[in-house]
Symmetry: C2
């Protein structure tokens, strides 16, 4: 085609992918081009706006480091990450819902014993968590592997604190006991803003959006025969539950962390000051036919 | 909203932009989110594909340097750049059509005299160009400023040759004479592939696309009272005219560069070997009401 116009260009680009031997890639690229062009046409994007978009995307890529993924943050704040999670994690009724993994998960953390204090000195009020992992039939899932991670009272994850030199805090890996229980001590999670010192922060400010996420505890639970569950438990009440900057909140994941005055903690520890208790059940969906 | 699903998330994200005081930015972000989500839903993007997309966009940003703009190349190869040009450069019938600026334009090149040899040693067969700049009324436009730039016989622009140390070759700035003529000597432009050693090259290979652009000469012409014209003159014949990797070809911009055997060039030079002559008229559109 040698007479490209605003009317035929979308077809011209899609036809160029006709030689793609990967049918799925051909489908994805065709759909991407269609919707991207529709967006440009719908708003009649100006040349100056196009140049601004190129600059923004370039800066977003250049803000990424081993410790920071600004494109994931952009995907999160535009609701794309949660949409992908919702589309791919359709759990049956009764199973715990999934939400975004987020950028702060760490693979390969050493396994901690039941009842361990995962806080490891992280600032925050003490939290005692007792989470039982069940199947849809209500039977406990023993020997499930669980990753737990969260921000501390300053709103920071361990990986955001270079002074820790890579040591883990308020993060751990546990294994359920015969009755499906995970028991650990940590600190009370608090609300925190997503990083705003990069291009995504500029976007949030320019559009009048706040950067806050409501307080939450991350969990990833896997066991043979079950779908791996990636979710949060959100702490109620929280001013940001209805406006999570990354659109991750689902009503079923909003839970109470009970506050207690000084006294005896669930694990028998004598506490001189206030502490919090989280008791919750997670229900795993059965693995899809043919899944590992 | 605290119960995000695949069905309500698009509305939730758009509502989050309600506080944006810039009405145009609010419109652009709302449309972007709508079309981006529609794409993700239409193809039911998997989590693995999402991760691959994040990796691709990150690598694209990180491939950008002062000398290279990989995101513009991505925009070009997905037809977005040409679509933006087509939407914003709707010239009246009779005026020369616009096409993409491309990544190789350089601002502030020193002005050359009429008839100058812009090649400055660039490899290629000699070209003598005579381009007349007219208004829609057919009257010559004197004192128009014209930037001219092109690839050499190796398919490279001067800015892609670090060995030149920033010196210009096959590039120049001229001013039309009283009869609207631009006359210069250069080299015959040849077809060349866009850079394929980065993420965009990976995309082209993965989708079975070639990287070639048909041979062309770039022109940018501006004069008081007229719209600035950014265009190419494509050389016919060329095997890539119907499949330009960046979708920039318009029939009206495809022209003959006449080949001559040894003899006298249009400027009177005695040529010992073959040379080429380009004669063409460019017609400028009048400036829109209120434009500078």
């Amino acid at each position: 085609m040698r007479n490209i116009t605003e009317h035929n260009i979308t077809r011209a680009v899609i036809e160029r992918f006709a030689g793609c031997s990967d049918a799925r890639l051909r489908q994805v690229m065709g759909s991407l081009v269609t919707h991207l062009h529709d967006f440009v046409r719908e708003v009649a994007l100006t040349e100056a706006e196009w140049a601004q978009a190129i600059g923004f995307l370039t800066a977003t890529g250049q803000a990424c480091t081993d410790q920071r993924q600004e494109f994931i943050l952009l995907s999160d704040t535009l609701g794309v990450s949660m949409l992908v999670t919702a589309l791919n994690q359709r759990h049956p009724l009764g199973a715990t819902e999934a939400t975004v993994l987020g950028p702060f998960h760490v693979e390969g953390v050493a396994e901690a014993a039941q009842g361990a204090d995962l806080a490891q000195g992280a600032p925050g009020e003490p939290l005692f968590a007792e989470v039982q992992v069940l199947g849809l039939d209500g039977r406990p899932v023993a020997e499930a592997e669980a990753d737990v991670w969260q921000a501390d009272a300053a709103g920071l994850y361990d990986v955001q604190r270079p002074e820790l030199g890579g040591a883990h805090r308020a993060r751990g890996r546990l294994r359920t006991d015969a009755q499906g229980w995970l028991r650990f001590r940590s600190v009370l999670p608090t609300a925190y803003p997503v990083p705003t010192d990069g291009p995504v922060g500029q976007m949030l400010r320019a559009t009048g959006r706040h950067a806050w996420r409501p307080a939450h505890l991350h969990l990833r639970v896997s066991a043979p025969g079950f779908e791996t569950l990636v979710t949060h438990l959100f702490r109620e009440p929280d001013p940001w539950l209805d406006s999570d900057a990354v659109f991750g909140v689902r009503s079923s994941l909003v839970v109470r962390f009970e506050r207690h005055e000084a006294g005896t903690a669930p694990d028998g520890t004598a506490m001189a000051g206030p502490f919090h208790v989280l008791r919750h059940r997670l229900v795993l969906a059965p693995a899809a036919q043919g899944s590992p």
